[in-house]
């Protein structure tokens, strides 16, 4: 049994050390907002925060987490995150939506560290998050809009 802190709650899970955090979150804890897209840190759909920093949960293993706190889309809080989520709906960024939990985790992290990102900053920060529906045009617009609203 391993103890993990996810979204502020402690969970006892029966997971071996090599089990990816992604499957712990989805299959053992039962939080489904974090998505599986590639399993090899290529798509970003599984992005979660580990002590506030984004990681690909498909390549983060239970045995390596220790006491670090995990935040998933379900536990995302704070002004930046909420603004990003509101803008995402206002601009109708998602199409199928499958990649968007990951996009929002990455966008929130970007805006937390860089309140006024340029297009190049956005490209650099978001290039690890694939969107097969290619909603990139609106992701860019969404990040700029969120930056504007956060500044106001």
């Amino acid at each position: 049994m391993v103890t993990l802190t996810i979204n502020g709650n402690e969970h006892q899970v029966d997971a071996e050390a090599d089990m990816p955090l992604l499957w712990v979150i989805r299959d053992l804890v039962g939080l489904t907002g974090t998505k599986f897209g590639c399993g090899m840190a290529q798509c970003g759909a599984c992005t979660v925060l580990l002590d506030g920093a984004p990681v690909r949960s498909c390549q983060t293993f239970v045995g390596d987490i220790g006491v670090a706190k995990v935040t998933t889309i379900e536990g995302l809080a704070g002004k930046v995150a909420k603004t990003v989520q509101t803008v995402w709906a206002d601009l109708d960024v998602p199409q199928c939506g499958y990649c968007q939990s990951g996009q929002i985790m990455s966008a929130t992290d970007l805006l937390t560290n860089n309140p006024k990102p340029t297009d190049d900053d956005i490209d650099a920060a978001m290039t690890g998050n694939l969107c097969r529906c290619a909603t990139y045009h609106r992701i860019r617009a969404g990040i700029h809009e969120a930056a504007k609203r956060l500044e106001a």
């Binding site: 299959d27 998505k35 897209g37 590639c38 399993g39 995402w88 709906a89 199928c96 939506g97 499958y98």
Partner: protein, 739 residues
Amino acid sequence: MIPKLMQYVVLPTVQAQASRRQFLLGVFAAGTGIAVGYRILAASPAVASGTPADEAGPHTFSPYLTIDGDGKVTVLSSQFEMGQGSYNGLATLVADELDADWSAIDVRGVAGNVKAYGNVAFGGAIQGTGGSTSMVTSWERYRKAGAAARAVLVAAAASEWGVPPAEITIENGVLAHPSGKTGGFGAFAAKAAAIPTPADVKLKQPGDWKLIGNAKLKRFDSARKANGTEQYTIDIKLPGMLTAVMIHPPLFGAKLKSFDAAAARAVKGVVDVVETPRGIAVVGEHMWAAMKGRDAVTVVWDETAAEKRSSQELMSMYKDLAGKAPTAVARKDGDVEAGFAAAAKVIEASYEFPYLAHAAMEPLNAVARRNEDGTLEIWGGHQFPDVYQTLASQIVGITPDKVQLHVMKTGGSFGRRAVFDGDVVVEAVYIAKAIGYRAPVKVQWTREDDMRAGRYRPAYVHQLKAGIDSSGKLVAWSAHVVGQSIMAKTMFDGMVQNGVDPTSVEGANNLPYVIPNQIVGLTTTDVGVPVLWWRSVGSTHTAFAAETFIDEVAEAAGRDPIEYRLSMLEPQSRHATVLKLAAEKAGWTKPLPKGRFRGVSVAESFGSVVAQIAEVSTDGKGGVKVERVVAAVDCGLTVNPDQVRAQVEGGIGFGLGAILGEEITLTAGKVDQSNFDAYTPLRIDAMPVVEVHILASANPPTGIGEPGVPPVGPAVANAVYKALGKRIRVMPFTKTLNA
């Protein structure tokens, strides 16, 4: 992603074929027919509980919508949602006629009632989503459903209030009478649902629409996609459910010889390892256990009958065939030989297109559960529900009406979930059966499974030849398409007429340009790699070949690419109109900043016409970047203008990714790519600025999920030629640009 079938008269053809095919017998003769379909619908909870006695509802107004006691309207969508916004579009049609409160709208996918849900664009005999037909098939149907529900709500209120129905108005889901009486939908839903809906209803005049065509209307489902609560097939969790991963044959057509699962069974969490007709399934308590178990299985395959050729071998065979006479003719006008003989100048080019994977973000999956009463439930991306229902019933040995499909939203599809053989859906049923139905089971493909499972956009070679007279006029044209057929030997085989699969030549045999002498030939190849429709189907390659070659012809004629195209189009035609609109919006005649280059293309697909002008920049080292794409779209009347824009933006990104860098290759029959490290869809850093201009139109809506895709490749290739002087004729671009 299914071709525009209406022009091919589906039903008579497939029925004529039925006796030859057990499959079709299953689907069409043994009957997911009308009566059976209604039984399924009646068994679904939404309908079963729709009795006036139960005030909470849902109360059923038609096969298309229910209203709850709290006023919530649920649109029952015949069209499957994969991100393209069909749910939103159908909801818009219903909500507008109903004068519903948009914030109280939800949508649920439904199946099993072909009379109500059969796709009109496919002839009505089969339910399905594809060919960008969601609006085509729903436009009348769902508006009428909304209007009919409105009429009975008014009637119910009128009788309760004792006032004439004509004096009642509805706004935002609230019924009102000048006397001051008001009430929400919920208050009258039970009573209204018991009133027979009028056979004939009057639809609103366009001037009265509040939601249809409203550019400010937001999707009803964006918030749930931004907070992680949207539910996809992968998110299904049933009590006691097990998770399975598959071991598919390593080569297309390989057969299982033997396997040893002793070590796999010893892996913690592995519950069973079973054989199915589609491969071995490793069943675990959860995904990770199943994946670890899979690594421990050893398998021996019989590869005797497998496809073992490499994609390189196939390409050189195709190129060879392209130089020979085609085996079928898809179009012939005038006297082509005489046309070429009289031409002042003849140019030729050949084009190569690789296999492409759909690679939707949600790898394929499905969940099956056998209930104690003998019924079967399947959760999945049911893009061809009637087909899956029938196939599943045959596996289990029950009648189709005992199979209930739960139509889930999925993380993309792009055509991949519209399969003839049921694919991952039947896989779930096979596994459930193999474990003796002892638990519900989810089969989840990994990215590697998904990418290597075939059903690709076929590889093609095009050989093109054009002749112009001394004035530059195009007088002769010949095109020869070489590649696999998507529909031959499937349930759509009847649509292959005279050796021509329409999906192989669409976009090539209906060029909009006036060309007096032309021939479009087809040679269909026989290859063991499974193929399928991929967002915009034939136009993924035909538009590229035609629209880049026209550019070459324009250059040979010494003419401007847009002016030359216009000279071969009727001035009032849709093609000419969108070309002119794109030219105006992109500033075609204005000089570009240094280092920027433009290209144009126009293509019709699924009833819509889209022109695009791409602007590229160079890095001085042979690299190019697509900076901006301006699109002009004629898709008839736009139900959700902002979603039309979204589909064109996304279509441009999807199409651009493919031509820039996507390719599935085979070495000795084995697929080389398995994940996004080697198969590389577009990422945000390569996404251009996109501008979408929609032509105002009063014509009925046509497709939009796909038509944004075809023009981007040729527009960019034509711009790259201006930038680098290189004609790109081999896909993806990396092959030419890195060469």
